[in-house]
């Protein structure tokens, strides 16, 4: 059951049990919601972008450890980043998870160097039914970015 230990790494359970940036934003922001119809997982986020920079983010939702940890890590990772950097992160994440085709960007010799904590989600790749759990916050983020762009 080594695969299971890879899947449920300490850090994932930590983000699941103590999600970062949980809450809602006040003031100007965009809001996007995602749901995984096959399992019922829900994720939502409030995103504030100012001068092309993510200046605040808050997440809501409920679901499995993978979707909620993925969302929590994502929120931390995007805060303070410029939109193109967020998009780059998103692309790298999708490559790492095997959602988009292409080589994984992760450097096996320097764990954490490319995607930080998010690299802990690599174990999900061995569980194809769970990949969409990990991806849910990211499709919701893409939605939020599209809204933000449409709003400007």
């Amino acid at each position: 059951m080594a695969d299971l230990d890879e899947l449920y790494r300490e850090i994932i359970l930590d983000h699941y049990r103590n999600p970062r940036r949980r809450g809602t934003l006040h003031g100007p922001h965009v809001h996007a919601e995602g749901v995984n119809p096959s399992c019922g997982d829900e994720f939502a986020l409030d995103l504030r972008i100012e001068d092309g920079v993510v200046t605040d983010v808050a997440i809501q939702g409920q679901g499995c450890s993978i979707s909620q940890a993925s969302g929590s890590m994502m929120a931390e990772a995007i805060l303070g980043k410029e939109v193109p950097a967020v998009e780059d992160l998103m692309a790298k994440f999708r490559l790492m998870m095997g959602i988009d085709e292409g080589d994984s960007p992760i450097d096996p010799n320097r764990p954490g160097s490319v995607l930080g904590d998010l690299e802990a989600l690599q174990g999900v790749r061995r569980f194809p039914v769970r990949i969409k759990c990990a991806d849910l916050p990211w499709t919701t983020l893409a939605d939020a970015l599209a809204k933000a762009e449409a709003g400007t």
């Binding site: 059951m1 695969d3 299971l4 359970l13 096959s38 399992c39 019922g40 993978i66 769970r130 759990c133």
Partner: protein
């Protein structure tokens, strides 16, 4: 534990192993595995008998028609129907319920009328009524469940007033396993104008059902949940109710005459079977019924009570595990939903799957009930004729492993 004998060998899929361990299949409430007899009946149908029914003037087609109608007679006998004409073949329980919702409700309900359901219903026994309510202006009202997960009848008298034209209830919950109050509702409805519809998707596979005694006007169930193929279900109706039910699908075979402007319906039950029916699937369901009758539905039920009692017992060993469902196995079936600590149902299912134990996780197509229970998602183990005590042991073992993975101590 069981009077059924060792039936596992009859189910080829249960011989599959996952990473060296035999599959423990605990998702029969979603769909059951199929015995050789059913698989081979379908196979033989396509190899030796395949032809369209009710149409041909040649022997092959007559033989296919006989086999199809014989399956109808088998199903009728299985549920104690007065005649095969009371049995309509549909695509599944969902379609059967929609037949009643549209065929009865759409033509009879109006603004001010009410449909009485319970909060423990499967989406298939809620959404069709919502759709028809929207089209007719009728309103839905619900019976609640009590702390024992049973349908709460304390305000039945109040709810069942003259506005209620349809009462529809599950015979057995696919989430909590609780038996529905069919007898009580039948008695209450008898004094009213309302018809009683029973969603038998979980009841018919798991307990002896005799429609002559059930007190229902309509009964819906699915073949795939009772060892039969996918793509087939049944709507049983009292003859006088079927006679008054409007067909909801038009097409070939359900008419005696069609002109450019009008059509005359065929007799019941063909009236409700527009187009080419699921022929091989009906015949396959007939074989499943034969198999269940050989086991004996009393024995099936006894086995289910025994294995459910054993499972509830063993699950109670596990700390932080909450079962959503009645404790008394006499009042319930073999679908056992639970939560384990803060482990989300999906994570739990993944961990169990890694241990070769197949369970379902989620809302089980019963979101209103889940909300009522205060659960977002549960893990469900459900049992059927081929499950044995060892399956429960494997489940329990894997649940302990899940505690480890999630660091529950």
């Amino acid at each position: 534990m069981t009077d059924l004998g060792d039936v596992r060998g009859d189910f080829p899929l249960l011989g599959r192993t996952f990473e060296g361990r035999p599959l423990v299949y605990l998702d029969s409430a979603a769909t059951t595995q199929k015995p050789h007899r059913v698989i081979e009946t379908i196979d033989r149908y396509y190899r030796e008998l395949n032809a369209n029914v009710h149409r041909g003037a040649y022997r092959l087609s007559a033989a296919a028609t006989d086999a199809y109608e014989e399956a109808r007679a088998k199903v009728a006998r299985f549920i104690g129907a007065g005649s095969p004409e009371e049995v309509v073949f549909t695509r599944g329980a969902t379609t059967a319920l929609n037949h009643v919702a549209y065929g009865w409700g759409l033509h009879r309900l109006g603004s001010g009328d009410r449909i009485l359901l319970t909060v423990m219903e499967h989406h298939s026994n809620i959404v069709p009524w919502q759709m028809v309510a929207r089209l007719t202006g009728a309103e839905l009202v619900y019976l609640d469940v009590d702390d024992e997960y049973r349908v709460d009848l304390s305000n039945l008298d109040e709810l069942l007033d003259e506005r209620v034209k349809i009462v529809s209830v599950s015979g057995m919950s696919n989430v909590t396993g609780a038996l529905g109050p069919v007898a009580e509702l039948a008695e209450a409805v008898a004094d009213t104008e309302a018809v009683l519809v029973v969603d038998g998707a979980q009841l018919v596979p798991h307990a002896p059902v005799d429609v002559a005694a059930l007190g229902a006007d309509f009964l819906a169930f699915s073949g795939h949940k009772m060892l039969g193929p996918t793509g087939i279900g049944v709507l049983w109706g009292r003859p006088e109710r079927l006679a008054d039910l409007e067909p909801t699908e038009g097409g070939g075979e359900m008419i005696v005459d069609v002109t450019l402007t009008d059509a005359k319906w065929a007799p019941v039950p063909h009236r409700f079977e527009a187009g080419t029916p699921p022929i091989a699937q009906a015949i396959g369901l007939g074989a499943a019924v034969d198999y269940l009758e050989d086991l004996g539905m009393d024995a099936v039920r006894a086995h289910e009570e025994a294995i459910t009692a054993y499972a509830l017992d063993r699950l109670s060993e596990i700390p932080d595990l909450t079962v959503y469902g009645p404790r008394d196995v006499a009042t319930r079936g073999g679908a056992v939903s639970f939560e384990l600590g803060d482990i989300h149902a999906h994570d739990l299912a993944t961990i169990l799957d890694e241990h070769g134990v197949a369970v379902r996780a989620g809302h089980h197509c019963a979101k209103p009930l889940m909300r009522r229970l205060g659960a977002v998602a549960t893990t469900r183990a459900s049992f059927y004729v081929y499950n044995v005590a060892e399956d429960v042991d494997r489940l329990v073992e894997a649940l302990w492993k899940a505690r480890e993975v999630f660091g529950l101590d």
